[in-house]
Amino acid sequence: MFRCAYVLDDLQMLRATLDASIFNRIYPNDLVRGISELTRASLEYLFRNCDIDVETPYLVKDRIIYGEVFSMIAIESNWCRGYMMLQASEDAVLSLIPQEAGNESDAKNFRELNNVLGEATNMIWGSFKNRYVGPNEEMRSVMQTQVPIIINHHRRYISFGSEDPQLCFKYTLRERSGSKAPVPIYQRFVFNLSWSPEEFKENATVESLVEAGELDLF
């Protein structure tokens, strides 16, 4: 399907169409693929009776919060600074918790939901650091600026003060028994404080480290 026509003397239309149509001129493909891999592994660990579907990542410039509950953690390295969020519908995730993270007698507790979402966030950020933040990061070169984050609960609105597009992923938890409705979890990255993709690299030493879950005796 044709999206636009342009002439060499006037490339403005082409530029605007490329900006609107090409998914990723900002986020390195290795980073996007890696994030979905490590997030999927964390969700599979926490929701063991579920299959995790990962949809094609996408970019947004909106500031809309999905669902009723979300977690947010600061991301700090010498090539990026910002936040990661996990957003979900409270009732949907709660419906999966009795089988996955608690016992039947103490089920459907919002504290359990906070705990599971918090642990997922912690595991994803830990994996991100191990994979993409080098052990000898020179953080002194990073100016530790901060900007206000605006949250409007009534409007489900959150602003990080940046117009940069947010990198988004959608994971769907499907309980294998089929007795529960699929549960979507939205993941967003906003590197509003610092973004230097030319310095992005995956740690070469990760593969030689002790496998996750194994004991590294000193």
């Binding site: 592994a41 964390s42 660990y45 926490l46 993270a101 608690g102 359990e112 705990n115 599971v116 918090g118 642990e119 912690n122 595991m123 950020w125 830990g126 994996s127 650091k129 191990n130 052990p135 480290l209 002790v210 496998e211 996750a212 879950g213 194994e214 004991l215 590294d216 005796l217 000193f218």
Partner: protein
């Protein structure tokens, strides 16, 4: 009288590790952060091994390990960190506190149970 103290602010991880160790015949106690962990150690002298998270509120796991050596003056108890952290700097701090080992989450009980049983035997 527990053999192992599991310290983690996440009830999900804490319950999973405790349930796995109990299913393997070990006596387990738990604590929700480093401060709680120190209190539990003071009240139960039978504990031989601490399995602890690093990032926790009130008191982190590495500070707890250092205080086990300095404040409780316990140099014999074994300590293993179970954490998402994997930085050499943190491991070096752990080694300086006499930590025995390091496990990167997610917890894989089958991979570590043999070593854990040796440490508490």
């Amino acid at each position: 009288m527990a053999q192992i103290l599991v310290v983690d602010d996440s009830s999900t991880v804490r319950n999973e590790v405790c349930d796995f160790l109990k299913a393997n015949g070990l006596a387990v106690a738990s604590a929700v952060d480093g401060k709680d962990g120190l209190d539990k150690l003071k009240s139960d002298s039978a504990i031989k091994l601490v399995i602890s998270d690093v990032n926790m509120p009130n008191m982190d796991g590495l500070t707890m390990a250092e205080k086990i050596r300095s404040d409780l003056k316990n140099t014999t108890i074994d300590i293993i960190m179970l954490t998402t952290e994997n930085s050499p700097a943190m491991k070096d701090r752990g080694k300086a506190a006499g930590i025995k080992g390091w496990i990167v989450k997610p917890f894989n009980g089958a991979a570590v149970i043999g070593s854990v049983k040796k440490l508490v035997s």
